[in-house]
Subunit: 100 residues, 2 copies
C-alpha cells in the first residue's frame, strides 16, 4: 500500500470518475454483450466511450489504477473487464485516516 503512488493515481479527475462510474456499472454503462452481467466489471471500450479519451490513454489509466490495486482486471476472450477492488480502496482510506 504505497500512499504516495495511489495519491498520484488519484490526482486526476477522470481517474476518480472511472472509480465512481464503476460503483454502479448498471447506471453508468450500456448492457454488455458477451458476459451476462457486470460481476467482472466493465470492458475497456465502454469506459473509453464514457471518458471521451483515446483508447491508449484509457488503457494506460486503467493499467496504472490496477498496478496500485485500486482496480482488478479480468480477461474474457478479446475483452478486458475492470472492476473496483473494494477491499484495497477501503484499506487506502483507513490508512489515510491513520497516517495523515
Amino acid at each position: 500500500m504505497d500512499i504516495v503512488e495511489i495519491n498520484k493515481v488519484l490526482s486526476n479527475q477522470i481517474r476518480i470518475d472511472i472509480l465512481n462510474w464503476l460503483k454502479k456499472p448498471e447506471d453508468n454503462f450500456p448492457k454488455q454483450i458477451y458476459v451476462p452481467d457486470f460481476s467482472d466489471g466493465v470492458c475497456v471500450c465502454h469506459i473509453q466511450d464514457k471518458s471521451g479519451l483515446s483508447q491508449s490513454t484509457v488503457s494506460h489509466y486503467l493499467n496504472m489504477m490496477q498496478k496500485v490495486d485500486l482496480l482488478i482486471a479480468t480477461r474474457h476472450g478479446k475483452w478486458t473487464y475492470y472492476r473496483r477492488n473494494e477491499s484495497e480502496i477501503l484499506k487506502y482510506i483507513q490508512t489515510l485516516s491513520n497516517e495523515l
Copy 2:
C-alpha cells in the same frame, strides 16, 4: 475542497511527512525561542532543517499545502509558523470516504 488538488499535494512523501511531524511538534522539533509553545505551529526554519530540502523548496511546499487548506500560517515578527488545519484534514478524509 478540491480533492484532485489536495491529492496532488499529497503525492509527495516529504509533504506527507511534514503533515505528520506537525501532529506532535514537541516530539519532532526543537523548542522555539520567540514564542512560548507550538500553538501556532512550527517555524519554517525548523521544518526546513528536518526535511533537508532547500529553503525555497520548503517555503514553496508549505505554501501549496496552505493553499489547499491543509495547513494554517501565522506570522509572528520575522517568523512564519505553520500548523495543521485539523478540520479540513478531517473533511478531506470524509469526502474521500464518500466519493471514492
